[in-house]
Structure formats: structure tokens, C-alpha cells
């Protein structure tokens, strides 16, 4: 359960809506991945998207993120509506994400990987960077400081110069999170951040996610399979099944929803 001693903030239903998904439908050729999905995400909350395999959760995230363009529907971010936006524009608007299969830059070190997250904030031109002395160097150092805070936060200081390809899976996932955090996002999309982790790693990751939500106030939308984690850390949950929404509410409400139970356990005859 959420730690009651954490910073008090306005109740969930009083916070403004930061992300609003309207009637999103997505198909690939003849296959309908998402059918008429609508839900909202309020500022500062932790919103989980759950559902059986193949329910369309990653596709939903990809739509929010601009990787897929939905055929119908629109997404509103802070009142700004968009239907066709590419990933870069979405990134500029303050939405960051991690990937289910880790899309890290294998040839670069941990430090460099997280530094790439700062790219949007770097202003020096090509020539300034070539000369480096002066403005470009100061900017580089300033961003390095910020990234070091993230490295401290995620407790991966020992590995900062290691090429990410050499790290164990759990640490790679942290680097993925770090890179997303480096973008100073307002909304963080996490695609199965706990996949493939053992109990301790999951506890660490949950702690990081909650800390990010508490300290930086980042809104979190996460896809997760581990029900225990979902019940523990999320404020509200959306349930998908076969591309349709079948549940929406607090973890407690959703847990009792017969449709949700049926989707996971199948019908009894």
C-alpha cells in the first residue's frame, strides 16, 4: 500500500487531467489491435494498464507515444489535442517511455546512454561542439551533473562507464528508466518495467517508480503483469482485453469486477 506518510497532495479526482485518450481504434491490416478505447490520466497519479497477453497494452502505449498512428480517435495532452504526432513531437511535449524489450544503445556506456536523454535540452550547435571550449563545454558539464543525480538516484554509480551491453538485465532496465528520466518528462510511460525481474529487483524498481512519482511529481502510466505490484503502487487501473476496455477504476474496484476476473481466469461452465 502507498506510504501514508508521503507528501500529502490533493485527492485523485481533484487533480487536473493531463492525458486524455478518446475513442482510439487501431488496426494492422485486418487485425484490430484496439477498439474504441477511452480513458483519462490525472496529473501526478500512477495509472496502470493491465490485461491478458495480446490485449493491446503495448499498442496503446505506442499510440500515446507516437510510434503508431491510430486510425480513429484522438489523444489530448494538457488540453492540446493531437491525432497524428510523431514520436519526436511527443517527446518534446514531455512524454518519455521505456521499452519492453529494452531499446538501449548497446555500443555506449551507461553514462552516455542516459546523456542521450538530455539531447532535447542541449542547445549548442555543431561548430560550438567541435570547438568545445567555452559554451559547449559548460553545457556538457551542466547536463553531466543532472545525469549524475539520476545515476545516484538509481544507484548505478559503479557502472557508469560500462558499456550497457555487458550489464545484467535488471541493471539494463534501470538504465532504460534513467534515460527516460533524463528527459525530465511530465508523463512517463513504462512498458512492463518489472518483466523478468526477481522479487528483490521488483521491490527496487517499485521503490524507484514511487520515488519518481513522489519527488519529481511525474505522472506514471505503466503496463504491468504482476498483480501484486499493480495493486500496491497504482492509484487507478485500466483493464484491456482483446483490444477493448473492460475495466476502469481504483485497484480495489477493478479487482472485484466480474468482467476482469473472467478475462483473466476464463469463464466457468
Amino acid at each position: 500500500m502507498r506510504d501514508p506518510a508521503s507528501t500529502p497532495r490533493p485527492a485523485a479526482h481533484e487533480r487536473p487531467v493531463i492525458l486524455d485518450v478518446h475513442n482510439i481504434s487501431l488496426s494492422f491490416g485486418g487485425v484490430k489491435a484496439l477498439t474504441d478505447i477511452s480513458f483519462d490520466v490525472r496529473e501526478h497519479e500512477v495509472r496502470a494498464i493491465i490485461g491478458p497477453n495480446g490485449a493491446g497494452k503495448s499498442s496503446m502505449l505506442n499510440c500515446i507515444n507516437g510510434v503508431y498512428q491510430p486510425q480513429q480517435g484522438s489523444i489530448t495532452f494538457r488540453g492540446q489535442q493531437f491525432r497524428h504526432m510523431n514520436s519526436r513531437q511527443v517527446a518534446e511535449m514531455g512524454v518519455a517511455r521505456t521499452f519492453q524489450n529494452l531499446a538501449l544503445f548497446k555500443g555506449m556506456s551507461v553514462l552516455d546512454n542516459i546523456m542521450t536523454g538530455r539531447n532535447l535540452k542541449m542547445k549548442s550547435g555543431l561548430l560550438a561542439q567541435a570547438i568545445r571550449f567555452g559554451r559547449a563545454e559548460r553545457e556538457e558539464i551542466a547536463h553531466r551533473e543532472f545525469v549524475e543525480h539520476i545515476i545516484d538516484f538509481l544507484e548505478i554509480q559503479l557502472h557508469r562507464k560500462t558499456p550497457v551491453g555487458r550489464l545484467p538485465y535488471g541493471l539494463q532496465k534501470r538504465v532504460d528508466l534513467g534515460r527516460a528520466l533524463a528527459m525530465e518528462p511530465q508523463v512517463l510511460l513504462l512498458d512492463e518495467p518489472m518483466a523478468g525481474m526477481n522479487v528483490e529487483e521488483k521491490q527496487d524498481m517499485s521503490r524507484f517508480i514511487l520515488d519518481v512519482n513522489d519527488e519529481f511529481g511525474t505522472t506514471i502510466v505503466l503496463i504491468e503483469h504482476d498483480m501484486g505490484v499493480v495493486m500496491d503502487i497504482s492509484d487507478r487501473v485500466v483493464v484491456l482485453d482483446y483490444g477493448k476496455k473492460i475495466g476502469d477504476g481504483t485497484p480495489h474496484e477493478v479487482r472485484g469486477n466480474p468482467d476482469v476476473i473472467r478475462a483473466y481466469l476464463g469463464t466457468t461452465h
Binding site: 505506442n62 510510434v67 521499452f99 524489450n101 531499446a103
Partner: protein, 309 residues
């Protein structure tokens, strides 16, 4: 009109020759996912082997029959190509299985240089003749329709027929035999194929040997027409645009692509060339391929390339 048709035929014939070389590319790509920059060098190597062996064997073994010399030289050259295939698989391919495409591509570049050097060290670097009895005199056709008739090269026609036969043979091989099926499985997914027990190494040796066979046939035909010399390996670079046009995974595509490039080159040289200063043959094929790459990268008959996140 007559001149146009002659140019057209000439282009088709040249195109056929390109296709012969391109077939080797497609074979290797289809079956191992490797883009073989060394195909041209293989053609040269095979042609050199054939030319020199047909010269040396009569001297070594003391007989005079040209037919026998050619047959024995062919067999010996084929043995050499199989040996080359085996060496390539053993020393390069098997070690580079897990690396990305760009490494394999550059490795074949290295193999090309190696084969060029090896071929010339072993067989010499003069111009050599191949005489397999290809008809040399041109023939006149359609004398009733066009005044004087159209000039056609018999040799090129024979080459075209051989190329067509080769295509049919290979298509049957891929579709009907179990080895062909295994080859297609390997091309799709190396690891999956291995995990169901397909012997990767043996398959690759087979593929490269078959490509070596295609290279030998191409080398004989080209060599018979132009003489065997180093520039053969550069002409073979032309086969790259051919497979881009036709599609990397399609053998019929290699034929169509070759024909298009051959005709395109000849026609553009005659009709476009004078406006641009002449000699545009050296880049026409590549620029055409470039246009295709921007508009339809998989070529006319290739499979669509999908990038997944």
C-alpha cells in the same frame, strides 16, 4: 526502327549476361542472408580456372581432344569452387554468424579481394581464352521485315538459353528438393533452422558451391565472349543494381532485373548519351537502382522489408 530493335536485342543479351552473375547473388542471399560482394571475384576465379585448366590439362595428360579438355577443365574448376565454398564457410562465415549484416558484407568484400589475388597468383593475369564451341558468327533475322535484316549474336542467344535453363534448374531445386527447403528455412532464421537440426555449416557449403556453379557458368559464357581478364570482376559489380531492381530474394527477378538494366544501359547510351557527353553506361545502372531504392526498395519481386521495434 531497325536500329532501335537491334539495340534492344543487344541490350537484352547483355542483360542476360548480367543476370547470370546476379543469380549467384540471389542464391546466396536467399539461403544465407549474406550479400555476397565476392560474387564477381568468384566469376573471375572460376573463369580463370576453366581457361587455364583447359589449356594445361592437355599438356599435362597428353591428349588433344578439345571436348575432353573442356569437360575435364569444367569438372576441375567445379572442384575448386567447392573447395573455395568450403574454405569461405569454415574460415569466415561460421565465425561471423552472430554479427550484423554490415560485418558480413564487409567480410565478403575482403573475400573478393582475396579471391582476386589468389586467382591471379595461381592462374596468371593475362587475358585468356575460353573455347567451349560457342557460335561466333552473328546471324541476320527478319530479313523480310527490315531491309538487310537485323544483326543478332548467336553467341548471346545461346547464353540466353543457358541462363534460362539455369533459372529453371535452380527454381526446381529450391521448390522441390528437401535441400532446397532446408535452404529456405536457413535464409529465414538461422537459429531456428539450427534448432530443428538443419546442419548450418553443410547447408552453407552447399549454397556457396551452387553459387560457385552459377559463377562458373557465368564465367564461361562471359569469358568465351570477352576473354578472361581482371576487368571481369568489375563488370560483375554491375550485378548489384540488377538484384536491387529484381529483388534480392527472387531468381526470376534477377533475370528481369538483368534484362531491364541491359536494355536500359544500351538505350540510354544511344539516345541519352550524346546529350550528356557520352559514356553514361558506367553509372546508368546504379542511378536506376538508386531511384528504385527510394521508391520501391524491395525491387520488383522481392519481399517487403519490415522493421520492428
Amino acid at each position: 526502327m531497325g536500329f532501335f530493335l537491334e539495340t534492344l536485342f543487344g541490350g537484352l543479351m547483355v542483360g542476360m549476361l548480367y543476370s547470370l552473375i546476379a543469380i549467384g547473388f540471389v542464391l546466396i542471399y536467399k539461403a544465407s542472408g549474406v550479400f555476397n560482394f565476392a560474387q564477381g571475384a568468384m566469376v573471375l576465379f572460376a573463369a580463370l580456372a576453366m581457361a587455364r585448366f583447359s589449356e594445361w590439362l592437355p599438356a599435362w595428360l597428353g591428349f588433344e581432344s578439345l571436348v575432353l579438355a573442356n569437360v575435364l577443365a569444367f569438372l576441375l574448376a567445379m572442384v575448386m569452387m567447392i573447395a573455395v565454398a568450403w574454405l569461405i564457410e569454415r574460415l569466415a562465415l561460421s565465425k561471423l554468424v552472430n554479427q550484423e549484416g554490415i560485418s558480413l558484407l564487409m567480410a565478403t568484400l575482403g573475400i573478393a579481394y582475396f579471391l582476386d589475388g589468389l586467382g591471379q597468383s595461381l592462374f596468371g593475369n593475362d587475358i585468356y581464352k575460353i573455347d567451349v564451341g560457342m557460335p561466333k558468327e552473328p546471324m541476320m533475322v527478319l530479313e523480310s521485315t527490315f531491309q538487310g535484316g537485323l544483326l543478332l549474336s548467336r553467341e548471346d542467344l545461346v547464353a540466353a538459353v543457358i541462363a534460362a535453363a539455369l533459372v529453371v534448374l535452380l527454381a526446381l531445386f529450391f521448390q522441390k528438393t528437401s535441400t532446397g527447403r532446408a535452404l529456405r528455412a536457413v535464409a529465414d532464421d538461422h537459429q531456428a533452422a539450427q534448432s530443428i537440426g538443419i546442419p548450418l555449416s553443410r547447408i552453407w557449403v552447399i549454397v556457396w558451391s551452387v553459387a560457385g556453379f552459377a559463377a562458373l557458368v557465368a564465367g564461361i559464357i562471359w569469358g568465351s565472349k570477352l576473354g578472361v581478364q581482371f576487368s571481369l570482376s568489375l563488370v560483375a559489380l554491375k550485378a548489384l543494381p540488377v538484384v536491387i531492381l529484381g529483388g534480392l530474394t527472387s531468381i526470376p527477378g534477377a533475370i528481369i532485373g538483368g534484362l531491364l538494366i541491359g536494355v536500359g544501359e544500351k538505350l540510354s547510351e544511344i539516345y541519352l548519351g550524346p546529350m550528356l557527353g557520352g559514356g553514361i553506361e558506367i553509372w546508368f545502372a546504379y542511378v536506376l537502382a538508386l531511384v528504385f531504392l527510394l521508391v520501391r526498395p524491395q525491387g520488383l519481386f522481392g519481399e517487403k522489408i519490415i522493421d520492428r521495434v
